[in-house]
């Protein structure tokens, strides 16, 4: 049997290096996906199930039952009574080692039970209210809208402005071309972290503090984007442009109607990256947006986790919703993302 399973094409058996390889990959799977899976499973637990220690693997919690005359649902227990019979009773209250319990069917007779004579009954249940409550209890819709607005608008401008610059740098010969290209590339050396304070001044002078535009504008010109698109446009034959000029097409028309459609694959890669960058941005929005109605999802998550009493059930649900779009994009476009990184080294 083992012989059959480990047999491979070409007659070579799996040797120990293959076992090590797959062992490594399997533990990688556990380590990389495990924490995310744990987050997702935890996000479906009720608030009381989240405070249990040790935590249960699946979203299970104490089975609750409604008791007439009591406003909140009470936890259900399997109780062994002194006469040896076993009954399911709901706990009303507990003092020390004795609990006062009732049968939900006959709420009028209270029974005193020593707590070592009972077992909590657990039930599987998805606490979807963690998700459905978000819209009502928090301004989740606002945060989502802010994040989506910044991501979409910034990505459109990024594609437009960077492709225009790349067009100029790849399809025109003019004095200063090399200087401009180097100047744009040199901004790679100026990450946002080192111009934090003066950029705050610039944005506040432009009246864009606590405005989503204050996050969008500084982000839309990217050296990586210009570089990526320029390299791609260099491969387009110049004869296409010459032919269009013969037909008296304006330069803008050549850019818009000829060059841009042909650059679609590179634009797609840049679009994916831009969406990721803007969706995940943290430090710069943190500086610009201080009013909670302007928070992006990332800022809202940060604010909630810093609260004195963290409501983990809502925080976990919101975290899952924040990582969902990126995960979906990744699931469908993995190939393009990994190829884009491998070829251009951008992230």
């Amino acid at each position: 049997m083992v012989d059959f399973l480990t047999r491979r094409r070409g007659g070579r058996r799996l040797d120990w290096t293959d076992w090590v390889t797959y062992g490594y990959l399997a533990s990688g799977l556990l380590l990389m996906f495990g924490p995310v899976l744990w987050l997702v499973m935890s996000s479906f637990k009720t608030e009381s199930a989240l405070t249990e220690f040790p935590p249960s693997l699946l979203p299970t919690g104490p089975k609750m039952v409604a008791v007439t005359g009591v406003d909140k649902p009470r936890p259900l227990f399997k109780v062994t009574l002194p006469d040896g019979s076993v009954r399911e009773l709901a706990e009303l209250r507990r003092i020390g080692l004795t609990a006062t319990m009732v049968d939900p069917a006959h709420p009028e007779t209270e029974i005193k039970v020593p707590i070592d004579q009972r077992q909590p009954i657990r039930a599987f249940g998805l606490a979807t209210e963690n998700y459905t409550d978000l819209a009502g209890k928090f301004a989740f819709g606002t945060y989502l809208w802010n994040s989506v607005f910044i991501t979409v608008i910034a990505t459109i401008f990024t594609l437009l402005f960077n492709s225009m610059a790349a067009f100029a740098l790849s399809k025109y010969r003019f004095s200063g071309r090399k200087t401009v290209f180097l100047l744009i590339l040199s901004t790679l050396m100026v990450p946002p972290t080192i111009v934090l304070v003066p950029n705050f001044l610039v944005v506040s002078e432009l009246g864009m503090l606590n405005s989503l535009w204050g996050v969008i504008w500084p982000a839309v010109a990217t050296p990586t984007g210009v570089f990526l698109l320029r390299q791609y446009m260099l491969t387009l034959p110049d004869e296409l442009l010459e032919a269009a000029r013969m037909d008296h097409a304006s330069e803008w028309r050549i850019y818009w109607r000829i060059v841009l459609p042909l650059t679609a694959p590179a634009l797609a890669v840049l679009a994916i990256f831009s969406v990721m960058w803007r969706w995940n941005d943290f430090l710069w929005p943190l500086v610009v947006l201080s009013k909670s109605e302007k928070f992006t999802l990332q800022l809202a998550l940060n604010a909630f986790q810093g609260d004195l009493v963290t409501q983990w059930n809502y925080l976990l649900a919101m975290t899952v919703l924040t990582l969902l779009p990126v995960t979906v994009v990744f699931a469908f476009l993995q190939k393009y993302i990994t190829q884009g990184i491998a070829s251009a080294g951008v992230k």
């Binding site: 290096t17 990389m32 405070t51 220690f53 003019f174 430090l283 993995q334 491998a342």
Partner: protein, 332 residues
Amino acid sequence: MLRQLAAAPVAAAFRVVEAPFRWAQSAFGMRPMPWLFLAPNLLIFGVFTFLPLIINFYYAFTGGVQLYPSERPFTGLDNLATLFDCTNHFNPSTCRKDLFWRAIWNTAQFSVLQVTLMVAFSLVTALVLNRKVIGRGFWRGVFFYPVLLSPVVVALIWKWILQREGLLNAAMVGAGASGVEWLTNASWAMFWVIFVSIWAHMGFYTLILLAGLQAIPKDLYEAAQMDRASPWRTFSRVTLPMLMPNLLVVCVLALIRAVQIFDEVFVLTGGGPGSATTFIVQFIYQTGFMEQIRLYGMAAAGSLVLAVVLIVLTLIQLRIASAGRAGAGNDG
């Protein structure tokens, strides 16, 4: 359907933007056209990168708490002198700005450990993925997935696991040990900050190294096989030398990112306990934006120090990149 819906506004936008270009072309000919296409990008770089660079330089030499530069008194080298005022630079407690030096040494310790371990793990993973494995695309995706998660999400995922009554402590108790306060113990906090940042970023470097491995000509390995070279010898004499340019670029790239660490750590530990995981960028952010008295000049001086470090690292990277073939990289 969607295409038709989008067609009208796109066509309208096209006409609006085309107008100035068409006018400029008919009035001045071809000469200004490239500059017109470059204008939006250059304007944004000018306003949000180059202008701030100059202002940052000026800020670093001024004092006071006003934001507007002309209202700030010129204080010369005061800020930098304060930052560097130490009896012993290796002992932050003897410094006037002790937090700055704690941040510097924390960042140095973090960067060295994180980059070394991360590149090592990335290399091993790339080597494993470069073997004949079934479903390589899937496995590559597994290691790459965390790279795409936002730093805040990454921090919260791990905070949930590492909290006092979290999964890890449950496992510890289950194994008969007692729980540990992972994030409020200084040494453990540093360990987890390094661990989490490796978890979140190693997929990116794995991908670059894997691309490098796949670019090594196959006939070199065939030749090694002919000579009956041992696997270790093949690795040290063929793989490693051929991969060296990529490996160096990955190291410097990782180092450039590591000295700028902020987001994940800020959410995971808030720089604590105490200042055990406070790094340079957090010092800048805290000094400029979190304190009651906002010392913009001090923050700018801190940025200047960070900028010098980054420029040195980038020049090293450019040197390596021009020596071998390699890619550039930055977050936009």
